[in-house]
Homo-oligomer: 367 residues x 2
């Protein structure tokens, strides 16, 4: 892995991240492909949206289809037939949010597989071994995700457990694949600082801010991001996990973040919520029933070049899953185009102008 | 409309059907696009499967999105953004099979809309007017579909009603759009003959065999097709409605049929039943869990060129609707490729050799 910063605009920066399977222009939005597929999109679709890297999940893939199958294909890239970079999340977050019965052990988490009812223990070593076999371009430490809200003591011990697991994760990495540490510490700025300083002592290839977008108010989240973002090691890629909406992203970029992921563009697309240069439209609304315009007249995606709002709304009402795909293509393209615009504004040193513009567009959307 | 026969092999024939929106090589399989979309497929997908004409349904489109909307788009081609031929079914069959509460009137059928509960009367005039506004390349007469089984008297009066409606349909066609008559008469060969002779007196641009694939045994169906098929006017296109599986199609081709439609390739694809050059495979079977081969090694469709059985099975198990699309692409491509092979065998006067080959492949599939 190589990371080179090409432009700076105050704390914001443009960079080029060189990974085993290709280059990523930062700030970058990683499209979500949890189970080794970006829901509804084929390989050409993903490429045509401008996505340079996708995010898959070690926890989900471990359960389905299972590691032996992906191993038979010599890794996730071959299994998916996707030749560009993949970042894999470790599964720390999912073990807590999705597995109903789980037990925290010192060396990992034990839970009942929702797929076949088997008891599974995930440890930092198991998570890293899984990610090595998946063949990800960037692996994430196995961490303990602190729930929101949590008091100071609980947050501190959770953060300390994550640090111990970060050490074990690093030790378990017998591969050349880069591994990122994850800053925890909940909504307590000093615990965040402590977490960051411990992680930099261990020394990772990049640093993520985890444990946000877990239900906290936007203001609290922004405070943590603006406090920790600019203090993450300056020469390493910085990744804000699970965030977010366009305004959240641009504020984080202003605080020096390079990488993002979020389910919003893909999940909202499947529910008919579409991003445009003039705000969000909800295609199921009656007003679009005979609307001949594309979703977004300024967009050059396959969907906007070929289909009207009225037709997409019709497909959606007929439960034709083509609707879900066409809307996903649009939203993912929109997000990638948005990141491209951010990079352009950083290049000309005018990111704040773009933020002002966006705040006007999204002011009425609420949080 | 122009129809030219280019090769003959006994009763089977190759032809070129020239329609307002393009040419169709016959024998041709029309892919089903009931609601103005081939479920899961975008415009490029449909073209890339080799489909030259699709079938949409006047009844369904009348209910959803409604005629006013399609009229605003100046027809179905614009609404869908599909520039190739469309045949529209009149809705006769659907009025009986789908509308729960319906009442046969001398001049049409009254039923309760399943979409909004309104009372709707469809008459031959209303069906033709709808198809004119849709702008179809081929329109179908509004007919009364005889249920199976039906006794001779019921079949006869139903057939006579269809003849009367055929006259009214023809009279209602104020457009230059070609209109096909539909031979009814259930499983009674002499009633079929009577229906055909009345229809040819009225004089249509093409002739269809309707009222089959309604639950009758395959042998009964084949008997009707081989009895009536070769007697349909030789210089007009001949269309067997709602049929069928590869063996049904090739037997009908041998009896002089030029056009087909059927839900099997698309519907079965969504259920994981896939056609191959070596028979049908069911992708959900456990044996494909780690199968690196494409669905069909001899197939050149997008799905087979890019994806393994194991991966498609994984997508299907994860409920990723990409699976439904990839399987639909394959099955439709397979059917179009099959029709192409039929045309090649007719050209070299060896259709019977191909039938023998197919009978071996599908012998174990049952009906």
């Amino acid at each position: 892995m190589k990371f080179e910063i090409t432009n700076e605009n105050n704390n914001a920066r443009n960079g080029k991240l060189s990974l085993e399977h290709g280059n990523v222009d930062t700030p970058s939005f990683m499209t979500i492909g949890t189970y080794g597929s970006v829901k509804t999109l084929d390989l050409n679709d993903i490429t045509n949206t401008g996505s340079q890297i996708i995010l898959c999940n070690a926890f989900h893939l471990l359960l389905r289809p299972g590691l032996e199958i992906i191993e038979k294909f010599d890794g996730l890239h071959n299994f998916m037939n996707w030749s560009k970079p993949i970042l894999t999340d470790s599964g720390g977050y999912q073990v807590f949010s999705l597995a109903k019965i789980n037990k925290l052990k010192n060396d990992g988490v034990e839970f009942i597989s929702p797929v076949d009812g088997n008891k599974i223990l995930i440890t930092p070593e198991k998570s890293i071994e899984t990610q090595i076999i998946l063949g990800s371009d960037i692996m994430m430490c196995f961490d303990d995700c602190t729930p929101y809200p949590s008091n100071r003591d609980d947050t501190q011990s959770s953060m300390e457990l994550s640090i111990r697991w970060a050490e074990l994760s690093k030790k378990a990495n017998r591969s050349a694949q880069p591994l990122f540490g994850i800053v925890q510490g909940g909504m307590f700025p000093d615990l965040r600082e402590k977490s960051l300083s411990e992680l930099t002592n261990i020394d990772f290839d990049g640093y993520a801010i985890g444990g946000l977008s877990v239900g906290e108010p936007k203001e609290v989240r922004n405070e943590i991001v603006s406090h920790i973002g600019p203090n993450l090691p300056i020469d390493k890629p910085r990744y804000l996990m699970g965030v977010g909406k366009p305004l959240d992203i641009i504020h984080a970029v202003r605080n020096g973040i390079d990488l993002f992921d979020c389910v919003i563009p893909t999940r909202n697309a499947r529910n008919g919520q579409l991003f445009t240069h003039h705000g969000i439209i909800r295609i199921r609304n009656n007003q679009y029933i005979d609307d001949k315009k594309p979703i977004d007249s300024e967009c050059r995606c396959y969907t906007c070049l070929n289909y009207s709002r009225a037709y997409i709304r019709h497909l959606d009402r007929c439960n034709d899953i083509l609707a879900a795909r066409l809307m996903t293509i649009h939203n993912v393209y929109f997000y990638q185009d948005f990141m491209n615009t951010i990079r352009e504004y950083i290049k000309i040193n005018k990111l704040d102008d773009y933020i002002e513009l966006l705040e006007n567009i999204y002011s009425y959307e609420g949080d």
